[in-house]
């Protein structure tokens, strides 16, 4: 009974949340922009054709940067809009646990991002037509990209719970996600090793999404990388619940 009602609550909230994406034109605009950016970076900046290799590394390499702007744009409204319009009061006085609502909203937005990612399938088809790529590697890349977007999204949910202002939520999450990139971004780590202890740099880099996304791009699904992304998601969602509880405590 208990578990059943949790599942039912999560399903009801997630369904509402996901369908609210598609009732506004913003969702379609987002999908188009995502696909255009992915295409642009892959074919133009990433010189997909000139590389002469049958792989999607030119495609996946840009994902941490594309998501940096687009995931906060998708997630910024998740909680701040509820706070601004007062529906949070309605939602949290229903017989649902706060964690159910938090998880449901996260899953719905993540599903939306998954749809966006899935729509890039023509690129995977293209490499298969043009050459003979390692499809396992491509699948691993997709898994990694999906997890990466989940990590950014969870962080955005957290910043979104902090404020009723979507713009502030957006900026905060971009800054946090940027930090997660830069901690392991080669130009930055190279610069840091010049004046910091390399061991320290390595520890910092261990917190970077780049470090952990790398493996997936190479076709390796390492449990440590999986664990990293899942714990970022878990931690950020837990922080969201603390923020929501404290907000109500006044």
């Amino acid at each position: 009974m208990k578990a059943n009602s949790s599942v039912a609550n999560i399903r009801a909230i997630a369904k509402r949340e996901l369908s609210s994406y598609f009732t506004s034109p913003v969702a379609y605009v987002f999908l188009v922009i995502f696909l255009l950016l992915a295409g642009f970076f892959t074919f133009t900046v990433g010189s997909f054709f000139e590389r002469g290799e049958a792989s999607l590394s030119a495609f996946f390499a840009w994902h941490p940067w594309i998501y940096l702007v687009l995931v906060p744009a998708v997630g910024m409204r998740v909680w701040s809009e509820e706070r601004r319009s007062g529906t949070m009061e309605l939602l949290l006085t229903m017989p649902v646990n706060a964690w159910e609502a938090i998880l449901a909203k996260f899953l719905a937005s993540w599903a939306f991002l998954a749809i966006a990612l899935a729509l890039t399938f023509p690129i995977a088809i293209t490499v298969n037509v043009l050459g003979d790529p390692d499809n396992g590697m491509i699948a691993a890349g997709y898994v990694g990209s999906f997890l990466l977007s989940g990590a950014y999204l969870a962080i955005t949910c957290m910043t979104s719970a902090l404020t009723r202002n979507q713009v502030i939520a957006f900026i905060l999450s971009v800054v946090l996600c940027l930090f997660l990139i830069l901690a392991g971004f080669n130009p930055v780590t190279d610069m840091m090793t010049r004046w910091a202890n390399p061991a320290l740099v390595e520890i910092v880099a261990a917190f970077s999404v780049i470090t952990h996304f790398d493996g997936f791009q190479k076709g390796v699904i390492d449990t440590r990388d999986l664990f990293f992304f899942l714990s970022v998601i878990g931690f950020a969602l837990f922080a969201t619940s603390v923020i929501i509880r404290n907000h109500r405590a006044g």
Partner: protein, 309 residues
């Protein structure tokens, strides 16, 4: 059904609700009155489990709202102050969503949505998107949401806010009707609603309870209650104030108002005034016993001391 003990809520240093205790049983409709910022909404947010209390206990249907939140929430329907709803949903979709969160699915859900749509007169806007509704319809949509599971306890924060006079009337009737079988708390700034819908009313001011009683009892707290007003030619104020039941006499545009010493003996006062008029041969145009007025009571007990004269 609802039991509140020593409820306190502080925001920083400020106490929004201060040591409030009361209870509401099934079959009661409690009117919750108080000036702006008195702490009505804050109290309701604590009862419905949205805000945790700083101190004190709340139980609904025997379930502690903090410890056993879900069980308590299941019993309650809540209409929040701003009557918020999801603007991108249709009325039907929104009510369906509320029904699902209340554990209603399939046929039960359809039936529940139909029932509240009829109850709140939403039939004509069923498929309209909520952000295109007028304010009153938006309010009614949120009201419908609070009734969807036919709750045993209803908490409504200004349920008639923004409704037209006909709808106000309907909603009051609805509240009274539901009060027969449920425990209802509603807040309002419209004092007529207290007489029209409540079995009991509480007035709070700056977080503290300052009055608690039936509408009748509250009205009797008014100075005016039981006073006899007489409009008569050549009436004599001195003779009226000499009556044993009279406390004092006041002239008000062309008439004289006699205040009783004892409010419960207003009938005796009215008789004496009539007898006196007969003996003196005054030509009486009008004579009436005044009812107490809630707004006067309200003003007197909730005005800050500095404003009181």
């Amino acid at each position: 059904m609802i039991r509140i003990e020593n409820l306190t809520k502080s925001f920083g240093l400020k106490k929004a609700v201060d040591d409030l205790s009361f209870s509401v049983e099934r079959g009661e409709v409690l009117g919750f009155l108080g000036p702006n910022g008195a702490g009505k909404s804050t109290t309701m947010r604590m009862i419905t489990g949205f805000l945790p209390p700083t101190a004190g206990r709340i139980s609904v249907g025997g379930h502690d709202v903090v410890e056993d939140a879900l069980a308590a929430k299941r019993l309650m329907g809540y209409l929040p102050e701003n009557a918020a709803s999801y603007p991108d949903m249709s009325v039907e979709g929104f009510l369906g969503f509320a029904a699902e969160l209340r554990g209603l699915n399939g046929d039960a859900k359809k039936k529940a949505v139909h029932r509240v749509v009829d109850l709140c007169f939403l039939g004509s806007v069923l498929h309209q998107q909520i952000d295109t509704l007028s304010k009153g319809y938006r309010h009614r949509t949120c009201l419908a949401q609070s009734l969807i599971h036919d709750p045993e306890v209803l908490i409504m924060d200004e349920p008639t806010d923004g409704l037209d006079p006909n709808q106000k009337h309907e909603v009051r009737n609805l509240i009274r009707e539901m009060g027969k079988t449920k425990a209802v708390i509603f807040s309002t700034h419209i004092l007529e609603e207290v007489g029209a819908a409540c079995t009991r009313a509480i007035i709070i001011d700056r977080g503290r309870m300052v009055a608690n009683g039936t509408p009748e009892e509250l009205r009797n707290m008014s100075e005016l209650a039981g006073a006899v007003t007489i409009a008569a030619q050549n009436a004599d104020a001195a003779k009226l104030s000499a009556l044993p039941e009279a406390l004092r006499v006041e002239a008000i545009d062309g008439a004289l108002r006699v205040y009783p010493k004892d409010k419960s003996a207003s009938v005796a006062l009215a008789r004496s005034v009539m007898d006196l008029a007969g003996r003196e041969g005054w030509r009486v145009d009008a004579l009436r016993t005044e009812e107490g007025q809630l707004d006067e009571v309200f003003r007197r007990i909730t005005l800050p001391d500095t404003v009181k004269k």
